[in-house]
């Protein structure tokens, strides 16, 4: 273990996990075939006794795996981040703790990742009932509408990416699914490739209404984060000033009616409505300014840009310097 592995395989283990012994052997068979040096990190999201037992069997069998256990259930994003900080490879591959894709497809994912910053696997062709298909299409369509990024299978957690991608993005909450979206917004090149779905990949539990709500809230968060984090006043100010304008307009109408048509002002409910709108508008505006103040006071930490590369003359490129270093410019460019 003196050499640093090139690839870190991170497997967050949550509530849903298949037989890890079988899974590990199929993963490691295809990973070995790729010819990269790699390490495998399992991150247990809380006390998962069954998984711990299976992993210790693997460990006893001489498999070199690293197992990290979070002290309580923090969610997959936290597990992923913990895995990242406990691994060293410059390239990261995340795999699910259950059969989702056919293991030999890993090689294709890794191949594709040479030409991009991040590769997202998409299970295709895909089994599922009509309802499931509709649900999926709905989710991804909505996501595309909100963020402008086109992904077709964010439920698949097979992703390969450079460490620099995750260094730039701080995942929290339920954002692990949306990692490709956030990365795309940071300017990374993302490729989606089709992989064949595993036979065993079937989610038997039912999605509850809460799950749907969570997905939609995630999307809203990302929408806000991507669009307006650096200019909160544009977001709050736009909504606030619209509401304020409506309220003020209603108020003006009331005043005109009072003065010109002599309608009593004091006992009209519309007066309450207009002042409610005005009040709400001012409040939203104030929130926007608070946001701006937060951004201003932390602007030093918010680096807005990501540099892809810097080219400068190297001191050892002597021939370049000789031929071009001090020649008159006008001639050298003609």
């Amino acid at each position: 273990m003196t050499r640093q592995p090139e690839l870190s395989v991170i497997i967050p283990v949550g509530q849903r996990s298949d037989d890890l012994e079988k899974l590990h052997s199929s993963y490691s068979r295809s990973l070995d075939a790729c010819g990269l040096s790699y390490e495998v990190v399992y991150v247990l999201d809380g006390a998962l006794d069954a998984a711990i037992a299976q992993l210790s069997v693997l460990r006893d069998a001489g498999q070199r795996i690293k197992v990290i256990q979070l002290s309580k259930r923090f969610g997959e994003a936290a597990a992923l981040m913990a895995g990242v900080s406990h691994s060293v490879g410059s390239k990261i591959l995340t795999l699910p703790a259950y059969f989702q894709i056919e293991a030999p497809e890993i090689e294709r994912v890794l191949d594709a990742s040479r030409a991009a910053d991040m590769v997202v696997a998409r299970r295709w062709p895909r089994r599922g009932t009509v309802f499931e298909r509709m649900r999926r299409a709905c989710f991804h369509g909505l996501l595309r509408m909100v963020t402008g990024e086109k992904f077709r299978d964010l439920g698949c957690s097979v992703r390969a990416f450079d460490r620099s991608v995750i260094d730039d993005i701080n995942l929290y909450g339920d954002q692990h699914r949306l990692l490709p979206v956030l990365a795309a917004k940071q300017g990374f090149r993302i490729v989606e490739i089709d992989v064949s779905q595993a036979q065993e990949d079937r989610f038997l539990g039912r999605y509850r209404a809460r799950e749907y709500l969570h997905r939609i809230l995630d999307m809203l968060t990302v929408f806000f984060l991507v669009r307006f984090t650096k200019k909160p006043l544009r977001f709050f100010g736009m909504i606030g000033s619209t509401i304020f304008a409506v309220g003020a307009a209603v108020f003006v109408v009331l005043i005109v009616q009072r003065l010109v048509f002599d309608q009593a002002l004091a006992d009209r409910p519309a007066l309450l409505l207009s002042s409610l709108l005005v009040v709400l508008g001012v409040q939203l505006f104030a929130l926007g300014l608070l946001g701006e103040l937060i951004i201003f006071t932390h602007a030093r930490d918010l680096k807005e840009y990501r540099i892809a590369e810097i080219v400068e003359a190297e001191s050892d490129s002597t021939e370049d310097m000789k031929s071009a270093g001090r020649t008159p410019l006008a001639s050298s460019f003609q």
Partner: protein, 321 residues
């Protein structure tokens, strides 16, 4: 320091012009070409320059982040004591740079260019820019006649401390006024565009207005954030008091029936006032925990009265820059 975006044809002549002017000055200098995710061969050209000339550094962004980000990157990475920014479209004339440097030598912290003879279309460019400049001048109180001119010079230790984000590049002098810099404006030449497309449009009025408001608030109140909120709370509270007293006066003294809408509106505005006061408290909290403080900025431009010495932040601050 030149932010460039899709300016493949302009970049080489630009560097030639800069090189010609500055090499006559006997100065050590560097040229930073910041490529804001161009889709054409701008970066190849810039990188070629960088490989050939030790003075040039070419920086490429991962994608298009906007001009402010390009400026911010240039400012962060620049090593010089004086930073000169200019457009990459050859509309600014590098021959003006020496006069900017002179003004910095004269003790100014910021020198702004004024394109007194603009070579642009009248209706779509000049007229809106007149109005915008007038408005910006009124709001920020800075006597700058041309905020859109990119040719500017800054003393590095001042500008490096000014937070630049969002689309602030139009307002760099306004943001910088947080630090109370000595600022002057000089006339510069302006050429018509030779190559490439202009990248500005008219459609940003609304955004500029909100940004302007942001800057006004931050510049005016960043050091005492609750004041601003309490100032807008006062009219709401006064209104609320008037309406509430009015409706009770009606009932108690005039013996009329209680007017629910009036009292309701009074309560609403009272709530607004309270909310704003609380928001002001919150703002104090935010300001206290943040690390960009206006007090620090004031030290940047302070100088000893008799020796004319320029002050720097202490050593630890220097390292952070």
């Amino acid at each position: 320091m030149v932010p460039v975006y899709n300016e493949e044809q302009n970049i080489v002549p630009l560097f030639e012009a800069i090189h010609e002017t500055i090499s006559a000055l006997d100065l050590r200098y560097e040229v930073l070409l910041v490529d804001d995710g161009s889709t054409d061969s701008t970066f190849q050209n810039a990188a070629d320059l960088a490989r050939r000339y030790p003075e040039v550094r070419a920086i490429r962004f991962r994608r298009n982040y906007g001009q402010t980000a390009a400026m911010a990157a240039g400012i962060d990475l620049a090593k010089g004591e004086v930073l000169v920014t200019m457009d990459g479209d050859l509309q600014n004339d590098p021959a003006d740079i020496p006069r900017f440097l002179e003004e910095i030598e004269n003790g100014n912290d910021i020198v702004v260019g004024w394109r007194y003879d603009r070579k642009d279309k009248l209706i779509s460019r000049k007229v809106p820019s007149r109005i915008a400049n007038w408005l910006i001048g009124k709001v920020t109180g800075l006597p700058i006649r041309d905020n859109g001119c990119s040719l500017k010079a800054f003393r590095a230790n001042v500008i490096k401390q000014i937070p630049l984000y969002s689309e602030m590049h139009r307002f760099i002098p306004a943001m910088a006024s947080l630090a109370g810099p000595r600022l002057t404006e000089i006339k510069v030449n302006h050429h018509a565009r030779q190559f490439g497309e202009s990248k500005y449009g008219l459609s940003r009025v609304y955004k500029v207005l909100l940004d302007l408001l942001t800057i006004k608030t931050i510049v005016g109140f960043a050091a005492r954030p609750s004041t601003w909120f309490i100032l807008i709370a006062v009219p709401a509270l006064v209104l609320s008091m008037l309406m509430l007293t009015g409706s009770f006066y009606d009932v108690i003294v005039l013996d009329r029936s209680f007017s629910t809408p009036v009292a309701g509106v009074g309560v609403l505005f009272g709530a607004l006032g309270l909310f704003l006061v609380m928001a002001g408290m919150f703002a104090e909290l935010v300001y206290k925990t943040g690390d960009n403080r206006v007090e620090k900025l004031s030290m940047l431009t302070a100088r000893s009265l008799y020796s004319g010495e320029v002050s720097y932040l202490d050593e630890s601050e220097k390292k952070r820059v």
